[in-house]
């Protein structure tokens, strides 16, 4: 048995020695062929990116899509897209039926999802937010306090109450089913360094000059709390 294992390791070893990009060359042909670049950028914003650039964008930048979204969610959503916010990406104009995201299916869907999953960010550390099991009582109470009272995140983000009622603002993306959409490790990385992902955004930064400053421990609780949003208990 030992010999068999050694042989297995010998075959596996070269895979670890290869740089991560080898064999994973991102094929963006389906992404381009389906017209996605008309609304979505896939490279980090340039240094001179300003508010005019942001307001001219029609859809979110996807350069970190592979880190942001949960496995499987993207494929399901692209096959049957439903609006994530009830207003347009400019944050002011109500969305209409004309703003519906195009539907993808078949090979196009598979290829676009495969491409987007390669767009990851190295600063997102896997496993920072432990989502195994039920969150502790402290996380549940503190998370609710942070989200609904202290910072009133639901002023912009739609959420679902324990009775299934949708509450919250309309300008931010809905978090009503965040558990299946967002990767908690990315949520934490985003809360800690928002400007890295979106230099210009409508979301306030809660560390630095604020009335109630949040540190890494606060953000971990918040990310864990958001990871439970929309789960049927």
């Amino acid at each position: 048995m030992k010999i068999v294992r050694r042989i297995q390791y010998m075959f596996l070893l070269p895979l670890f020695l290869l740089p991560p990009s080898v064999g994973l060359a991102a094929d963006d042909s389906a992404f381009i062929a389906n017209g996605c670049p008309a609304c979505h950028q896939v490279t980090p914003p340039p240094a001179d990116y300003d508010i005019r650039d942001r307001m001219a964008e029609k859809g979110p930048n996807l350069w970190y899509a592979g880190s942001k979204f949960q496995d499987g969610w993207l494929a399901n959503w692209l096959a049957a897209p439903v609006p994530i916010a009830s207003i347009r990406y400019d944050g002011v104009t109500p969305s209409s039926a004309l703003d519906m995201h195009p539907v993808l299916s078949g090979d196009a869907l598979t290829q676009v999802v495969a491409y987007l999953s390669t767009l990851t960010d190295v600063s997102v550390t896997a496993g920072v937010i432990d989502t195994s099991g039920r969150p502790s009582r402290r996380v549940r109470i503190q998370g609710r306090m942070f989200f609904s009272k202290d910072q009133q995140c639901f002023g912009c983000h739609m959420t679902r109450t324990r009775y299934g009622v949708l509450v919250g603002g309309a300008s931010g993306p809905s978090l009503a089913s965040a558990f299946e959409r967002l990767n908690p490790d990315w949520v934490y990385a985003f809360l800690m360094d928002q400007k890295r992902y979106t230099p210009i955004t409508r979301m306030p930064i809660f560390h630095g000059e604020t009335y109630t400053e949040y540190d890494a421990a606060h953000m971990k609780v918040l990310a864990r709390y958001i990871a439970e949003m929309g789960k049927v208990k």
């Binding site: 508010i51 307001m55 104009t93 604020t210 109630t212």
Partner: protein
């Protein structure tokens, strides 16, 4: 036939005279519908910041009709066009609210802090912009916040 031709001709003339007006009316309606999106090309920085950050709650014209303004919340966003209400705040208080959020002035936490998002000068511009919206002067009026700080 001749008797009938005259009224028809008159009616046609009237329609022709009115047509450009109708067309213009439609164009105006289309233009106003189009203006539902914010044209950012020629707007000054303060207007862009207002439309991007503040309008989501306070509305595009400051009258508390933004997409987040909902009666389901404990409070509605401040109506920035209400001069009587806004005159209660000094420029410093508005600046502090913009910087640290609502609790800094004993207001709702629904008002978020923009201190890390906007430069001090941008926040000062917004205070002046709000004073234009409310057509009011604050008590105590002038800034005591040092420039650049």
């Amino acid at each position: 036939m001749r008797r009938m031709t005259m009224p028809v001709a008159l009616l046609s003339a009237m329609l022709l005279w009115a047509a450009p007006g109708l067309a213009e009316d439609v164009t105006v309606k289309a233009a106003s519908a189009k203006s539902a999106t914010v044209d950012t090309k020629n707007l000054p920085r303060v207007e862009l910041n207002y439309q991007f950050l503040c309008a989501q709650c306070h509305g595009r014209f400051g009258n508390a009709t933004g997409p987040n303004a909902s009666k389901k919340f404990e409070v509605l966003p401040a109506d920035l066009t209400d001069g009587q209400y806004m005159a209660k705040f000094t420029d410093d208080q508005i600046f502090r609210t913009l910087t640290y959020g609502g609790p800094a002035n004993n207001l709702s936490t629904l008002m978020p802090p923009w201190g890390n998002r906007l430069m001090p000068e941008e926040r000062r511009e917004l205070v002046r912009y709000i004073r234009v919206l409310c057509e009011c002067e604050g008590v105590g009026t002038h800034f005591s916040v040092p420039t650049g700080g």
